[in-house]
Amino acid sequence: MSKFGNLFIAGITTGAIYAMFAVCVSVWYRVSNILNLAVGDFAMVGALGVDNLYRVKGLPLPVAIVCTLLVVAAFAYVYDQVVLRIAQDGPHRMDGIVVTFFFTFALSFFIDGVAKMLFGTDVHAAPALWNGASLSLGSLHFERAGLLVLACAVIIGGAFWVYIRFTLGGKALEASGENAVGARIVGIDTRRYRRLIFIGTAVIAAVFGIVESPITGFTYLSGATISLTGFLAAAYGGFRKPGRALLAGLFIGVLEAMLGGYVSAEYGDTVLYAILAAMVLAWPRQLGFESAVSG
């Protein structure tokens, strides 16, 4: 029972991370119709950036964190202003898979490459924000960093929910995603929302990278893996439903931990992906993939 409980705690912790990335992917997809495959790379930059500024450059930790987040936000702003503007708002507006997948895909490569230049190829992590041995409750063990991750997930996820559900901005956001032209006609600046959410999700991703990195450690290539899992979880919410993306993220995290613990440490991930693929094929409509099954 304690094995199950500890696996469940570990699963929920990684699941919370997947869930938050999935939420970031689906919220931005709603307003921009672009899948952000670079979201994990922002997390990696957050973790390695703080580590670099604090450990190598010797800045105080709060300063290092603030500087890193500012750099991430500024970069996201510039990217939106330069690349996304030409791609989406230019005279030859592009759409389809090229914009949906490949611009952020290129962005992910670019960020990873820059991170390799700046931070090298070793495994690093931001310093733990809450030091001490893991907390125990009976036979259950809680990592402090894990608790921080869960706390961040609850706070940020809750804030998102309140924003989308109850504020005018949230409604405008929804309108932008449903019908960009229609939203513009009624006076919603869809580009502003696209930019706002892009910067917002980039910063949130960086925060999660900082909080989570003491658990796993990051290299310049870690971003892609995180993006991928976030992308998968978001996919199970049809990319447009942050609530379902959140649940899917938690589910994948717990399933991963259980398979690793009970089935096979070596082939656990293989089984996990096989299960996930089977689910897509079995219930594409129910899982929110808009395109129906043919044949």
Partner: protein, 636 residues
């Protein structure tokens, strides 16, 4: 009048055959370019770095050429290539290492195995479409890398070396093995480019293009979408396996990283930088990336930055990649030199003088209305001549119900239509008109009830089969295929390739025949002069007329037209009315329309749907005086 028509048809055919004569045999040019350049590189620099990079790039190019067909052209995004490249490479390595089979002999065995595996896997995954297909196949590299790294037999994370080379003779010197192996790779690449180019320029290539633009439209136009998707998947996998096999044979080592998701992403980068829809572009993309990696030490260390920047810049310049940039560049250069391509010139001229164009349209349209009466009635496909009154109806809808969740959209709808005539379906928004049309067309299955065509129950038949039986349709929103000419848009409906397999199209294509038939249908509607225009450059009226031509070209028995007049001006509607009346002389037309005046003018019988129920069924005079109709549709 007949003479005039005949001459315009003949000129249409003439220009087509002239085009055909001006073209080189399909697929020969790109193949020749690849073969000549490749052989030159291998012979001149085969033993040096330049040549070895070229050969490595050619291995990848074999894979990306397949991706251009599957992912770029047909837009079936499946992330299965790196895995099948691994199947090819590991397969050859294992057969060579453990069974002493020469690489060249192992390759065909591995390809057959990969083809069978792809068939099995594809019959499961290609049931999914769009994002579901992408996400489901994204798991493949994740599963594969987990499997390979944990499996000692395959060399695990270390990789699998193999003793054999692609060049069959084991006693050959290193030089011969290197150059000979390189030449075999180039031959394989040329073959793949040839096959891919031939498929893309064939009648099935047109099918695939439509499939890529919109699966539903493709199905409504008779394309057997499940079959084509499976064929594409197998084709992509076999090409990838071939690429992997020659990779193993020339590199003599299979690294685990060949199958991981990063490898898949690298292949996608090559494809999109080169140009996703162009086979040559895909080859160039592979070359560019491979040479970049070796260009300088800095670039090879920072390849991620370079690839990311390059992909961004290329896509911002042209979503069709380097191939698109070069094509646009050549067109512009030609224009600047004054010798603009004739098709472009015409399009430009037509765009500058819309008034003249419209006048021509108008006169052509009136001419065609008259002309159509004079054309001998096209017989339905099975050659059956029209039915007398009292015979079994052509179309029968029997107590059809359709519910979405608990919401009832159609309730107990019954109607029967004869072999010829024009019938209209009216009703307020949300009454279920389009749903009924979809039920008849086959894209929506009714909850209960039956649809019969000529007495045969077709309720469970897919849209494709209804199309073969003579049901054709237009859509409420214009569903033309952007990026293709008017002629090709109509030719899609005239293809007879639906039952053929992709492989047969390597040797022959009946695209020209389909185009001829399409040209005839366009001439019937007086639109022969629009044939070479790209569809998105047309006015809405012209686009709707192209849809009409497309629906009419296969000589259907039943035409389903969904709001053909929406967005048209009064004058354009009158022209349309004339054409519809002429059509109804030879086929059965069911029209969904909001324009009550038009409906009353052209239809012999009108059905009114309200909240999913048929509330009126009668002739135009009853329609005008019916209180039900007045309350529902006129609002008085």
């Amino acid at each position: 009048m007949n003479g005039l028509l005949a001459s315009s048809r003949r000129s249409g055919r003439l220009s087509l055959s002239a085009q055909a004569a001006a073209r080189a045999p399909r697929g020969l040019t790109p193949t020749a370019v690849v073969a000549v350049v490749g052989i030159a590189f291998v012979l001149i620099w085969g033993q040096q770095y330049t040549g070895s990079v070229f050969v490595l790039a050619a291995c990848y190019a074999i894979v990306t050429a397949g991706m251009a067909v599957q992912i770029g052209f047909s837009q079936q995004i499946a992330f299965s290539q790196s895995v099948f490249m691994g199947v090819g490479a590991y397969g050859v390595a294992m057969l060579n290492t453990h069974y002493n089979l020469p690489v060249l002999l192992a390759t065909p065995i591995v390809l057959v195995g990969a083809g069978l595996a792809a068939l099995l896997l594809g019959s499961v995954v290609t049931r999914a479409s769009g994002l579901a297909l992408a996400v489901a196949t994204l798991m493949l590299p994740l599963i594969a890398v987990g499997y390979v790294s944990g499996t000692g037999f395959l060399g695990g994370a270390v990789g699998a070396p193999l003793p054999g080379t692609l060049w069959p003779s084991s006693s050959a010197s290193t030089t011969v093995a290197l150059v000979g192996g390189g030449l075999i790779v180039i031959a394989a690449l040329a073959l793949v480019v040839f096959i891919a180019s031939r498929i893309l320029t064939s009648d099935i290539g047109l099918e695939l293009f439509v499939l890529g633009v919109d699966e539903r439209t493709a199905a409504a136009l008779g394309v057997r979408t499940p079959r084509r998707k499976l064929e594409l998947f197998v084709l992509g996998c076999v090409f990838a396996a071939l690429g992997g096999a020659v990779y193993a044979g020339t590199q003599q080592f299979v690294p685990e990283t060949l199958v991981d998701p990063t490898a898949e992403l690298a292949l996608l980068i090559m494809l999109f930088i080169g140009g996703r829809r162009s086979v040559i572009g895909a080859v160039v993309g592979a070359l560019v990336i491979q040479y970049l990696q070796g260009a300088s030490n800095w670039v090879s260390v920072n390849i991620l930055v370079v690839e990311g920047l390059l992909l961004t810049v290329v896509l911002l310049t042209d979503p069709e990649g380097l191939a698109g940039i070069v094509t646009t560049g050549i067109t512009r250069l030609r224009q600047r030199l004054g010798g603009s391509a004739p098709a472009d010139g015409e399009a430009a001229a037509a765009a500058v003088t819309p008034a003249a164009g419209e006048e021509a349209d108008a006169s052509a349209a009136t001419a065609s209305t008259v002309a159509m009466a004079a054309i001998p009635v096209t017989r339905p496909r099975d050659g059956r001549i029209t039915g007398e009154p009292g015979e079994a109806p052509l179309l029968e809808v029997r107590s059809v119900y359709k519910e979405y969740g608990g919401l009832s959209v159609l309730a107990d709808v019954n109607l029967a239509l004869p072999e010829r005539g024009l019938f209209a379906l009216c009703g307020p928004n949300g009454a279920g008109k389009s749903t009924l049309l979809n039920v008849i067309g086959g894209s929506v299955a009714p909850t209960s009830g039956q649809v019969l065509l000529n007495g045969a129950d077709i309720t469970r038949r897919p849209p494709q089969e209804r199309f073969y039986q003579g049901v054709s349709r237009t859509f409420q929103a214009v569903h033309l295929i952007k990026g293709r000419t008017v002629l090709d848009n109509v030719a899609v409906a005239c293809l007879d390739s639906h039952t053929a397999s992709i492989v047969t199209r390597i040797s022959r294509s009946r695209l020209d025949q389909a185009r001829e038939k399409a040209a005839a249908a366009l001439a019937d509607l007086g639109m022969a002069d629009l044939a070479d225009r790209e569809v998105s450059s047309l006015t809405l009226e012209a686009q709707r007329m192209v849809e009409l031509a497309r629906a009419l070209a296969p000589s259907p028995r039943l035409m389903l037209l969904d709001e053909p007049a929406s967005g048209l001006s009064e004058e354009q509607r009158q022209r349309l009315a004339g054409q519809l009346t002429a059509l109804a002389e030879r086929t059965c037309v069911l029209l969904v329309e909001h324009d009550l005046a038009l409906v009353a003018q052209v239809s012999e019988r009108i059905f009114v749907l309200s909240a999913g129920r048929l509330v009126f069924d009668g002739g135009p005079s009853d329609f005008r005086s019916s209180p039900v109709v007045n309350t529902l549709l006129v609002g008085s």
